[in-house]
Symmetry: C2
Subunit: 454 residues, 2 copies
């Protein structure tokens, strides 16, 4: 009858104290029985028996108001005076949405300062991630830095080293663009085998925002930087982790990289780099340096700790691969997804997200039979480059067990691989850049489980 | 040196106890002197003296780190351990952004339940409005309705009256689209003369979000509604105001109107209609019925209180115009704008918003000399239909008083009028649908004022 916890983001029936292949204990939350039971008894599905909507017709009875107190009796909010306008600061979500939050995976990281929180993808709509639910990755905790004291410097191979205040930057020509950001380690725990129960934990180091700021190439031109191909810049953050990352000059000269102060209409959030963050579209999140304080221009890669030792890909032969920072084409079905429960057969809207670090998503195919047959999903427009794309597809569940998958193709023709294809190249011992096809098993009782299909 | 309060949204130097032409006393807030004074003394502008950035070069000295403690001394956040990941619910803006909030205009409405709060447009970036800053208009206060008890009914000229739970609706094919919403009364107080000091109060009953929901035409087809042109629907909200609005069937058959549960990635906010709101792109906000509980299909307009008596246009001849609900093409410069202060001459990024209820914005022209000359601004892409469009334009202020204006043209060729053109048709005694060109006077001391130019 309904998709359990579609909205609240609760995880029902994931095994209690679930132990993943990586030894990660995941949080199990009890579903609120009262709400589900009410829904189960209240109506036959509204999807059924429709006159004009042929694709939705299931031959079930049309729901009516008979016996439903929520139709027959006027609620308090139809009779009384409501609350005043919200001018005391800043609006908040409904109290009924309290379970929609980013979550840690206990045991994944040794501290809460050098840690991760995952975005609740299974509860989100469209492509914009609310800033309050944007995933977090901190290497040394987060700070709320006084913007009047923050400085941004450009030095190295430049004619005039420059220092900017935030207000200096905000006077310059700006751009506003929608982009996804994905941690290179997203889906990391699935390399060996199924490790975590829900889309929040398999894919939740992924978010998408409209960012506003100044193209880095503009700033480099102001400083008289040596912009030749083959040069590099080093981006450095102001927090205690001294995060530093090398970026090729050719990427910056494309004009795509910018120094952002705005995110989703307002200033960046403190846990995501306030007051300045580097936006590097299509590249793994670690290069989107938070609390950005310095750009140095040089003529070779800097081989810093976070690119020479961390964020490297362990390959099957025992070697490791550095500077593989592009986020390849990938997708995930967010409903139905692990931890959700389908309470009856019938019509469902399958929905999910697709993205590519190489540009636009060209198409998304969805299988509801474990990969034997594929149908092309509807993409919500506009499809934007290096941005999340929302897809939707009609599905009538016949009540039998089945496996649901999505497979994205980007505008370069690159096709998202399955696990067999990915492991043939990359092995099973890596951490980063797992973009394999995700499989969700819908069981006969409606419970959805994370599984792997080769 | 900086644009005063660009970011904090503070209103500086608006006349104390300002009395508008409508008798509205506006809130005057003191600027925080310490921050401004610090900025004023710290640096010469970073915009100046650039090597490669010809358009930005002003012949001023390049800023250096000399003497700036914020460059020479490592701050605490570069040396210490920060805060833990934010998993206790929901992230919040920086403490330094506390002044960026929606605000009431005291005296505008007799109660706080039937009232308005304005979005701080002068502090926002891009086109997405953070849901916590989305403008509010309540007719009887707002409610946080339990979604498990909310019902949505379709009746009237239908074969099968239907009732939907929220979960029923979330199983149906969905769309996600970016649209602006503007109250028909936005800019209302400017009809007679200059009335309020800032863009927040002149244009802040305007917001823009990515909405997700089910096309109303899908639901009407399921109920076997009579969809012929010339029919109408009545949309009804569940709150105590019994908000009801007529919408022509032809508009609904376009597929543009939908029943939304999602806004900016999450569920609608309570003060904006949680759990269901009707999205009627291009049409004034009052028709975007909040707490939507019923759609009735009929064969004539319903002439309800909120369309026969309220939300009507008083015309010059003494007659009034009903059902004029389309929001015509309009724009506003948000920086520099009233209440902001330019602290020195030199380069500025002029930025603002443009929109049209008829479709896409085609171009925005900007004048920096009171309308004598116009230059075409850069539009951020993608330009979306019935959505805000962000524009930017380079400007070098010579330090002399001048008037800044923007004029939008939409894809139908409609050009935003000036006040003389608007008043020739509409007079001066109206409340709704003022889409005239906004003028901001930059004074020699850098203070920006709201003025009207005919």
């Amino acid at each position: 009858m309904k998709i359990e916890d579609r909205n609240a983001g609760r995880i029902r029936r994931a095994p209690e104290g679930f132990l993943s292949s990586d030894g990660i204990r995941t949080v199990v939350e009890e579903a609120k029985r009262d709400r589900r039971d009410f829904i189960r008894s209240a109506f036959a599905t509204a999807v059924a028996g429709a006159a004009g909507g042929a694709a939705l017709a299931q031959g079930k009875p049309v729901p009516t108001a008979d016996g439903d107190p929520n139709i027959l009796q006027l609620p308090a909010h139809s009779k009384g005076l409501g609350k005043s306008v919200v001018t005391d600061g800043y609006g908040k979500p409904s109290e009924f949405e309290g379970n929609v939050q980013r979550r840690q995976s206990p045991g994944l990281t040794p501290t809460n300062q050098a840690s991760v929180s995952f975005a609740p993808l299974q509860s989100l709509f469209g492509v914009v991630t609310p800033s309050g639910l944007h995933f977090e990755r901190h290497h040394q905790g987060w700070w709320d830095i006084d913007p009047s004291k923050h400085r941004f410097m450009i030095n190295g191979m430049v004619k005039k080293p420059m220092v900017f205040t935030l207000e200096d930057l905000m006077r310059l020509p700006s751009v506003s663009r929608f982009h996804f950001i994905e941690c290179g380690a997203n889906t990391a725990v699935e390399w060996g085998n199924v490790a975590v129960p829900t889309a929040q934990y398999t894919h939740g180091m992924l978010s998408c925002s409209e960012f506003t700021g100044v193209p880095l190439v503009t700033l480099l031109e102001m400083a008289g930087a040596n912009l030749k191909d083959g040069n590099f810049v080093l981006a450095e953050g102001a927090d205690g982790s001294s995060m530093t990352r090398t970026i090729p000059m050719s990427v910056i000269k494309s004009g795509e990289v910018f120094v952002a102060y705005g995110q989703n209409g307002e200033m960046l959030r403190p846990e995501n780099g306030y007051p300045l963050r580097l936006i590097v579209p299509g590249i793994q999140g670690v290069s989107w340096v938070k609390y950005l304080r310095r750009i140095e221009v040089g003529d070779q890669p800097y081989a810093t700790k976070d690119e020479a030792i961390h964020y490297i890909d362990l390959m099957p032969g025992g070697q490791h691969r550095q500077y593989a920072s592009l986020q390849e084409c990938k997708s995930v079905v967010t409903t139905p997804s692990g931890g959700q429960v389908l309470l009856d057969k019938g019509f469902y809207n399958i929905t999910g997200l697709a993205w590519s670090g190489r540009g636009k998503v060209k198409k998304v195919d969805v299988s509801v039979d474990g990969g034997r047959n594929w149908r092309t999903a509807r993409l919500e427009s506009p499809v934007m480059s290096k941005c999340l794309t929302r897809f939707n597809m009609n599905w009538i569940w016949d009540g039998k067990p089945t496996i649901i998958q999505s497979r994205a193709t980007d505008e370069t023709g690159y096709v998202q691989p399955n696990y067999r294809q990915l492991r043939a190249v990359r092995g099973t011992r890596s951490i980063y850049h797992n973009n394999a096809i995700q499989s969700w098993l819908v069981q006969e009782n409606g419970e959805v489980k994370n599984v792997q299909v080769s």
